[in-house]
């Protein structure tokens, strides 16, 4: 069996009395891109938040390199090597680009490599270097998404989780972001990707899971799911082919 970096096993999550995830199980193999797709409210973001410790699982296990994560606080999950780029980016708008990046490398595991990581970020995103002393809030939407990803990379993640990285971006930036995700993967990064842009996500994903109302309803290789007309109709349905917001 291939080397599974992350294993989520039969996880149930509740918001108060409302169950948001039902026995969700996914696996992320080292060095791959895994996509979570599905409609709004299907539980994709909830799953990422549960992995990173913002939400807690009522039942089930989350194993990262064989180590249990389910009772860890978010800051300790980061320490283990998972960086989560949340929905809406959540940059520190009043801090400069450089300060945002510095905080990305806050954990002791990443801090000694700050200079090296910074150089890599600036190579990947030259625009961030030219804007390094500008406040993050003054960047354009696309630049902010780049900064959010760069900030997460500063933490030298073993697993990078991206929540809707293309949301609200212009088509050119959407293309740039997906190219970037592929590039990162070629450089050996393992990526768990949540996307509403299903076509694009399935194209680059090695493995994909379809979530519907809190349950995994389908999984398979990205291009298989993409090719399967029935699946598209049934689970991804109305979203395929429709122009993304």
């Amino acid at each position: 069996m291939a080397n599974q970096l992350l294993e989520v096993k039969s996880v149930d999550v509740f918001y108060g009395d409302v169950q948001a995830l039902w026995e969700v199980s996914i696996q992320v193999e080292e060095g791959t891109i895994v996509a979570l797709v599905g409609a709004n409210g299907a539980g994709k973001t909830t799953l990422l938040k549960t992995i990173s410790g913002i939400n807690s699982a009522a039942r089930g296990e989350i194993l990262f390199s064989g180590e249990h994560l389910e009772n860890l606080k978010p800051q300790n999950v980061v320490d283990r090597g998972i960086m989560h780029v949340p929905e809406g980016r959540r940059l520190f708008a009043n801090l400069t680009v450089l300060e945002n990046l510095r905080l990305g490398a806050y954990v002791p595991r990443a801090r000694p490599f700050f200079a090296e990581s910074l150089e890599r970020s600036f190579t990947l995103f030259p625009v961030l270097q030219t804007r390094k002393n500008q406040k993050a809030g003054s960047l354009s939407g696309g630049e902010q998404q780049m900064l959010a990803i760069a900030r997460a990379l500063m933490g030298r993640p073993k697993l990078l989780m991206l929540d809707e990285p293309s949301l609200g971006l212009s088509p050119i930036f959407v293309k740039t972001i997906f190219e970037l995700i592929s590039t990162l993967n070629e450089q050996k990064a393992t990526i768990l990707l949540v996307e509403q842009n299903i076509n694009q996500a399935l194209k680059i994903a090695h493995q994909a899971y379809v979530l519907k109302t809190g349950k995994i309803v389908m999984s398979g290789a990205g291009n298989e799911l993409l090719a399967d007309e029935e699946i598209r109709k049934a689970y991804i349905g109305e979203r395929v082919g429709r122009r993304q917001r």
């Binding site: 990173s52 989560h84 949340p86 520190f92 905080l103 806050y106 933490g155």
Partner: protein
């Protein structure tokens, strides 16, 4: 002559306002990370005024020299307060619990001080208490000038800490988005404890400074907390730099108010300004905006 008098009033306002300013910077930092108005701040200022009084009367330690003891001790007390009292409540979504703890702590400290030091006003009297300078006919007491000097140094120290150190940057980041800082691997307890250490540390500085200027009694803490809150509102809640300016502005308003309208009106005027600012410019006077809580 009138010009000299006005200048004297203005200078006095600035000199006293800086004490409000450092208190307000402390409030602003704690508000930034904890999202509560730390009402006990003023009571801690008076507490440290008493400590300075005791160090002088019992051990003969000069108030300004006592800062060497008071600053580290107050910072230690601040982080101990966080870990001992506020840590559990801080993890709760409901900020009212932390707020009630702060108010409870204020009354506890006030009554503690009443028992230990009685309600009679005390003052710190040194050889230089009555020393004044008279540049161009403006009377400037030595202690107030020293207070200004200490306040400027302290504020500069805090600002440099916030701007230049990694943990200082984390404190500023947490005041914008706590969840996002945890996703960077930053422990929110550590950030809160640092904010408390600096906040109470500033109360220590303000307490010693206050003790050298004015007589004080335990009940003065609450009034001081309200004054610091007004300074905070003037400067913009959540804006650390604005808090210092807000304090100085409040000092000026009080000084001008009591001179031109009458001593009894000073407080009424500052509360009036407080209400007007909250109604018409809730983001404060200095451009900053209220952060989303």
């Amino acid at each position: 002559m009138n010009l000299i008098l006005t200048l004297r009033v203005l200078v006095n306002g600035v000199l006293f306002g800086t004490t409000y300013g450092i208190a307000a910077v402390g409030l602003s930092l704690i508000f930034g990370t904890m999202r509560i108005i730390f009402f006990a701040q003023g009571t801690f200022i008076i507490f440290f005024a008493y400590i300075s009084y005791w160090l002088l009367t019992l051990l003969g330690i000069d108030p300004y020299l006592s800062l060497i003891i008071v600053i580290p001790a107050s910072m230690l007390l601040g982080s101990a307060l966080y870990y001992g009292i506020f840590k559990e409540a801080a993890a709760n979504e409901d900020k009212n619990i932390s707020l009630l703890l702060a108010i409870g702590l204020m009354y506890l400290m006030e009554n503690f001080m009443l028992v230990v030091w009685t309600p009679d006003p005390r003052s710190v009297v040194t050889s230089y208490t009555t020393l004044v300078f008279r540049p161009f006919g403006i009377v400037i007491p030595f202690t107030r000038l020293t207070t200004l000097f200490i306040a400027v140094l302290t504020a500069a120290g805090v600002f440099i800490f916030l701007k230049k150190t990694l943990i200082g940057t984390a404190v500023r980041a947490a005041s914008e988005d706590v969840v996002s800082t945890t996703l960077m691997g930053i422990n929110p307890n550590w950030v809160n404890a640092v904010a408390f250490a600096i906040g109470i540390g500033l109360a220590g500085v303000a307490g010693v400074a206050l003790a050298t200027i004015y007589p004080f009694d335990p009940s003065y803490g609450f009034i001081f907390a309200i004054k610091a809150l007004i300074a905070l509102a003037l400067g913009g809640i959540g804006n650390v730099y604005g808090a210092l300016l807000g304090g100085i502005l409040l000092g000026l308003i009080e000084s001008l108010g009591s001179f031109y309208v009458g001593g009894g009106w000073a407080d009424a005027i500052s509360y009036g300004v407080f209400l007007l600012v909250l109604i018409f410019r809730p983001q404060g006077l200095f451009g900053g905006s209220i952060k989303k809580a």
